[in-house]
Subunit: 110 residues, 2 copies
DNA sequence: CGGAATCCGACGGGATACTG
DNA sequence: CAGTATCCCGTCGGATTCCG
C-alpha cells in the first residue's frame, strides 16, 4: 500500500514529486503522451526497474494514466492526468529558481 | 562534500528541497529567524540529529545562515538568505497545489 | 517492447543517550 | 540549549538478466 496522506499540503506535494525522477518524468510527459521506451530514452540514466516503479506509483497517485495496447510487440503509453498536468506551474517555477540559484551561487563561491 | 550540481535547473531545485524536511524548515523560517529549539518544536517529529544535518546542508547550499551566540546557555539562530527566501513562491504554489490535490483525490477515490 | 526478478549498496532517517 | 555520538533500519536507486 502507499503512504499516508499528510495533512500539510506542502508535504502532500512533496510526497508526490520529491524523489529523484518523478519531476523529470512529468517534465517529459508535459510534452504529451509517451511510451515506456521513449521515457527511458529521454530520461538520462534511469533503469527500467526504477522507471516502472515510479510510473506505477504516479499512476496510483492519480498523476498519470497507463494505457496498454494488446499488441505484439507490446505498446504502453503514459499520459498525464489533469491533476498531473496542473503541476506545470510549479515545474516552471523550479526551472526559473534553479537557473537563478546556479547563477547566484557561482558568484558567491567564485 | 556535497553532491554535484546537476545541469538541469529542475534537478538543482529538487536537490535542495526534495528531502523530507528541508521544505518544512524553510516554511518555518519564512516567518523569520528562529532558534534550534524553536525549529525542533515546530517541526513535528524531527530528531535533533536529522535537524542538524539538514540545517548544515542548507547552510552549505546557501539557503540559510547560522549565527552562534557565545553565551551560556548556547543560542543559535537560523535565518534564510535571500536565495532561501526566494523559494517562497514555489512553496506557496505547493500549498495551493497540495490543497487542490487532496480535494480532487477525495472525490476520485470516494 | 515493456517490463519483472534479483541482488546489492548508499543514504536518509529514527530513537536514544550523552555533553560543552 | 544546541547539539554529538551510536546504532539500526527501510527505502530508493543502480546494474543486470530474463521473460511473454
Amino acid at each position: 500500500m502507499k503512504k499516508e496522506m499528510p495533512s500539510c499540503p506542502v508535504e502532500v506535494t512533496l510526497m508526490l514529486i520529491s524523489n529523484r525522477w518523478n519531476v523529470l518524468i512529468i517534465r517529459d510527459l508535459l510534452e504529451g503522451t509517451k511510451r515506456f521506451g521513449e521515457l527511458k530514452k529521454s530520461i538520462n540514466g534511469i533503469s527500467p526497474k526504477v522507471l516502472t516503479a515510479n510510473l506505477r506509483a504516479m499512476e496510483e497517485n492519480g498523476l498519470l494514466t497507463r494505457k496498454v495496447y494488446p499488441e505484439v510487440p507490446p505498446k504502453v503509453e503514459y499520459t498525464l492526468t489533469d491533476i498531473g498536468y496542473s503541476l506545470k506551474p510549479i515545474l516552471d517555477d523550479m526551472v526559473v529558481w534553479g537557473t537563478e540559484y546556479k547563477r547566484k551561487i557561482k558568484k558567491t563561491t567564485k
